[in-house]
């Protein structure tokens, strides 16, 4: 059990990262809040020390990614329709660069994390492989395909727009 100060520091430091990963996977606000809180709760309950700040951050990313995947996979979710979907109330999106965000959101699930980690957080393919527990070459493949898909979509948007 970590102290309250540690918990607050982690929320301040990693809040944005966690929030972004939630955003690319999840479609509604309630789920985002759920996952967000769960990730930090797990952090607080984890007693084993981290080797370095990088290790800590990687751990947070991995936990968030897994939590999102678990939620999407869950039986209840796969069978039930959320109220938010029914009343067509997607989470608010920033106005600027909405094309890029939408393009990322439209990617199949497995491409989202590598793309985000590579382009935004600046991790190399090797690091991404370590964080997500994937082979480095798999990550290269995922990145290449994702890039291709994004390009197609974005170019299509620009051409059409």
């Amino acid at each position: 059990m970590r102290s309250e100060e540690e918990a607050n520091r982690a929320v301040d430091l990693y809040g944005d990262t966690v929030r972004r990963i939630c955003m690319i996977h999840l479609k509604n606000r309630a789920d985002t809040e759920d996952i967000f809180q769960n990730v930090f709760l797990k952090y607080v309950l984890r007693t084993a020390p981290f080797d370095s700040p990088e290790h800590e951050k990687a751990w947070i990313i991995r936990v968030t990614s897994n939590a999102c995947r678990d939620l999407l996979k869950s039986f209840f979710r796969s069978r039930a329709v959320s109220l938010d979907t029914l009343i067509e109330k997607p989470q608010e999106m920033p106005e600027d660069h909405s094309d890029i965000l939408e393009a990322v959101l439209a990617l199949p699930e497995k491409y989202k994390d590598p793309i985000y980690l590579h382009y935004y957080e600046g991790y190399t393919a090797e690091e991404i492989g370590q964080i997500l527990g994937k082979n480095t070459n798999t990550v290269y493949t995922l990145l290449t395909r994702a890039r291709k898909m994004l390009k197609t979509r974005l170019e299509g948007v620009t051409e059409n727009g």
Partner: protein, 322 residues
């Protein structure tokens, strides 16, 4: 490549706009704080439960020890060595107290603590020094006292069975009040009774005088005082033994129910239905000490016998009834 750089820049900008909302952060922080404090609060009752359990354990242990170590009855043994054994409610010897130097010695030789009192009595009687005393014709008085009459009777019965093989052992029952008096005089119970008999005959006797006298010597003293008046009664302890009944001394001159004896003349002995040879509950003897299974004792000084536990001492007294 330039295009890719441009894309990367745009990408960063796009995601850079996304932040964890302050509201979400605040909510999460307060939730975590609650969780952290709740966990701490959780740890506390476990601690408290452990403390409570420890207290209970101590209480039970202390209670058990108290139950075990508190004597509920006493067996006083007097030959010359004066010993008093405390018997707890589980029939075990829990205390051994010596009332004179001989007793101290004997107590050191004996290893009877925490033994069942029956075994302890056997052990005591087979002890070298005690055997020597007994074979030399010493008189041994065994007195049982306790707050619980039933228990006392039971112990007395068992002790009598134990000592049945010895002719010169007498067994009596007494009560706690008398015993406390005895202790305040610094005497064991058995000796205190003899002392009272003696005192009735010779008021100048003090407890210090008799503390180191053997029972036999005290008996002889009593006999020498009362020899004249009590010639009517048997003077030797050997007479009228009735080991099966636990009577050691003399012939009874008593009725079963504590008749009034007109001691001093002796001519009224044998009055009443119970008179005769120690038949009833009481017995009397010349040494001024009578023992009965449950009854009081009458002594040669003409004391009556009580039906159950009274004992009469002194001249011309009435015996107690119940």
């Amino acid at each position: 490549m330039d295009k890719d750089k441009n894309f990367e820049k745009q990408f960063r900008e796009a995601f850079g706009q996304i932040h964890a909302e302050d509201e979400l952060r605040a909510k999460t922080k307060s939730l975590l704080a609650r969780q952290i404090n709740k966990k701490k609060a959780h740890a506390f009752p476990i601690f408290r439960t452990a403390a409570a359990a420890a207290c209970l354990l101590i209480a039970v242990t202390a209670g058990g020890a108290w139950l075990y170590l508190t004597p509920s009855a006493y067996i006083s043994i007097d030959i010359n060595p004066s010993l008093e054994l405390g018997v707890n409610r589980f029939d075990r010897i829990v205390s051994i107290e010596a009332f004179n130097s001989d007793g101290q010695e004997l107590a050191e030789q004996l290893d009877i603590r925490y033994m069942d009192y029956n075994e302890a009595m056997e052990e005591l009687l087979s002890e070298q020094t005690v055997e020597t005393y007994l074979s030399e014709g010493a008189v041994m008085a065994v007195t049982v006292a306790g707050s619980d009459e039933e228990k006392t009777d039971q112990i007395l019965e068992n002790v009598e069975t134990c000592t049945a093989g010895h002719s010169n052992i007498s067994c009596h029952a007494g009560d706690m009040a008398e015993m406390h008096e005895a202790h305040s005089e610094g005497l064991s119970f058995g000796k205190y009774r003899a002392y009272q008999e003696l005192k009735a005959l010779d008021p100048s006797v003090t407890p210090d005088d008799i503390r180191d006298l053997s029972m036999k010597e005290i008996r002889d003293l009593i006999d020498s005082y009362s020899g004249d008046d009590s010639s009517a009664t048997d003077s030797s302890p050997e007479n009228g033994q009735n080991p099966e009944n636990g009577f050691r001394y003399g012939n009874g001159h008593h009725g079963d129910e504590g008749r009034n004896y007109d001691y001093g003349n002796g001519q009224h002995y044998g009055d009443g239905p119970g008179s005769g040879n120690g038949a009833g509950a009481g017995s009397g003897n010349s040494s001024g000490n009578g023992a009965g299974a449950k009854s009081g004792s009458g002594n040669s000084s003409g004391n009556g016998a009580g039906a159950k536990s009274g004992s009469g001492n002194g001249h011309g007294r009435h015996a107690g009834e119940e």
